[in-house]
């Protein structure tokens, strides 16, 4: 599969103290995926996005966009295939949403402004009229920032913490917007976020960063397979459960006085039958696999980042 973005051994060093924000970071973002960039504060997520956008020059290593190296002659036109919202959305606060988009079209040299109303509607800003961007809510600004990044129909969208500070409805709006972009426009999206729960709902690929390095890259399907499935049950007598499972060689762990986690291939129906035979009542049962959060905690060491 062709990569929209490939970064190899990328490093970025700041200041006299030689702080290494990126230290041999490598990521591969295939075309058409939603790639979630995950890492603790200071892992280098925003720096990576800044470097890829050309806002900062790499101190070492390199990256390529659709195979064109960052220091190649043709990188200028290739960058036009890229849209980005990095940290705060880049808006002129004295302009309306429409005026901001018109200015963005002018910057991109796009003569036809006919699809501005569609973009505004897509971002849910079609009815903002003469309201200035400075009077927008945080969610509206975020959506306008994304709409501006979408001007010209980019092939790769970079979003840095797009869900930060949004209210629940704002989070849903932005999440839906990203999913629609992939579904309707076949757009590649690279998102950095701390919100693992939300990221898990939309990302198809993940990259884990720590101290400026890529710790691991994994697809959502691989994540799904990698985790051991388990049944979390609340029962009337956990001792009966323990005896019954032990006798049948099923792996389990007692969590509390009446709670236990059951591992392996046993299904809820099978477990119910086993326990019914032993006269143990199931009060509740929950099936779960490896979550992004548990994977992240195992990979990075949860207590360090708690």
């Amino acid at each position: 599969m062709e990569n929209a973005l490939t970064a190899t051994d990328l490093s970025k060093v700041y200041g006299r103290k030689q702080f290494r924000a990126l230290d041999g970071c490598s990521v591969n973002v295939p075309v058409g995926v939603i790639y979630g960039l995950i890492g603790p504060n200071g892992a280098g997520k925003t720096t990576l996005l800044r470097v890829v956008c050309g806002l900062q020059r790499p101190s070492g290593g390199g990256y390529s966009l659709w195979g064109v190296p960052h220091d190649g002659k043709n990188i200028g036109p290739v960058r036009r295939r890229l849209g980005a919202v990095i940290e705060a959305p880049a808006l002129d606060p004295h302009m309306t949403a429409r005026e901001n988009l018109r200015r963005q079209y002018r910057i991109l040299g796009l003569p036809d402004e006919g699809d501005i109303p569609d973009l505004l509607a897509f971002a849910g800003l079609g009815d903002t009229g003469k309201k200035k961007a400075r009077d927008f809510s945080l969610g509206m600004r975020q959506r306008l920032g994304i709409a501006m990044a979408l001007a010209g129909g980019p092939d790769l969208l970079l979003l840095d913490e797009p869900l930060n500070g949004l209210d629940p409805q704002g989070v849903i709006d932005v999440r839906e917007m990203i999913l629609r972009l992939r579904a309707e426009r076949r757009m590649t999206v690279l998102i950095s976020s701390h919100n693992l729960g939300e990221l898990e709902k939309i990302a198809t690929h993940y990259g884990f960063l720590e101290k400026g390095r890529t710790v691991r890259e994994i697809t959502a399907a691989e994540l799904e397979k990698s985790g051991e499935r388990r049944l979390r049950v609340t029962v009337s007598d956990v001792n009966i459960l323990a005896r019954a499972l032990y006798a049948r060689g099923i792996d389990y762990r007692v969590l509390s006085g009446n709670e236990a986690a059951v591992y392996g291939a046993v299904t809820p129906v099978e477990l119910s039958a086993i326990l019914a035979k032993e006269g143990c009542e199931i009060l509740s049962l929950e099936e779960s696999g490896e979550t992004l959060e548990s994977y992240y905690v195992n990979l990075m060491g949860g207590e360090k980042h708690a």
Binding site: G54, L55, A90, E99, R106
Partner: protein, 271 residues
């Protein structure tokens, strides 16, 4: 570059620098008219024309701090870089916009100064030729102001810092120029008064210790020509001693500041 320049023009919904230019031009003409009425002075209409240059220089200083600083702060520069424009083109487009704002403010000043001057004040004391030369030299001086303040503002990173630095540099240049001009204007000799025993005053001419030697005078003149505030001040006070050299200095400083600005801006990490 053209796209960035036209995108900059879209921010001109409230061209405050033009309003300031017009108001200052009108006030200067009315002030002269008031003097004419009060003291019966002869007030040539071209006397306040050249005060436009230090004033337009100050407007350029404010404009750079506010515009380029805002572009950095609001993410306008980021948008242009992400859109694939080279940093050199972004820098030059903004510089052109700054120069356009400065020259247009000066033009509005002149318009609002000349029109009431024609109606209310006396005939101009200078002929058209020297006035046109002074206006051309002044336009070059505005280009130096624009190049210097634009460089500062583009590298400052945010609006408050850009504005503060631009104002401080402007005031510093103006004070230095005024200081040097004071030394250049010092007379060669001064009158010394001596009181005799019988109370009779005697006046004797003595060499002025503050009078600059020919070499120092030339050096000061050169510094005045390098400083845009120095040129603006000299234009206001009657004209530049070596117009061609002054024009050359203006072009040199403009080109130097622009090249240095592009070089540094290309290396700058944008946040």
């Amino acid at each position: 570059m053209r796209n960035v320049f036209f995108a900059d023009l879209m921010t001109c919904k409230n061209p405050w620098w033009l309003y300031c230019g017009g108001a200052a031009g009108l006030l200067a003409a009315l002030n002269q008219y008031q003097d004419k009425l009060r003291y019966g002075d002869v007030c040539p209409m071209d006397e306040t024309l050249t005060t436009v240059f230090p004033f337009a220089g100050f407007l350029i200083c404010l404009f750079c701090g506010l515009f380029a600083g805002s572009e950095a702060e609001n993410g306008g520069l980021r948008r242009q870089v992400i859109a694939g424009h080279s940093r050199a083109k972004i820098y030059l487009a903004h510089l052109l916009f700054t120069l356009l704002a400065g020259v247009s403010a000066a033009a509005v000043y002149l318009l609002f100064n000349i029109v009431p001057g024609l109606l209310l004040l006396d005939a101009p004391k200078s002929s058209l030729g020297p006035t046109v030369v002074r206006l051309c030299l002044g336009t070059l001086t505005l280009a130096v102001f624009a190049a210097l303040f634009h460089m500062i503002a583009m590298l400052a990173g945010n609006r408050a810092r850009a504005l503060l630095l631009c104002i401080l540099v402007f005031l510093g240049m103006l004070m230095l120029a005024a200081l040097i001009e004071g030394r250049l204007e010092a007379p060669e000799s001064i009158s010394a008064y001596t009181m005799t025993v019988d109370g009779v005053q005697e006046v004797a001419s003595e060499p002025n210790p503050r009078y600059l030697s020919p070499a120092a005078r030339q050096a000061c003149q050169f510094v005045m020509m390098l400083l845009p505030a120095g040129q603006a001040l000299q234009l206001t006070m009657g004209g530049l001693p070596w117009p061609w050299l002054a024009a050359g200095c203006s072009l040199l400083v403009t080109a130097g500041a622009t090249l240095a600005g592009i070089f540094l801006f290309r290396k700058k990490d944008l946040k």
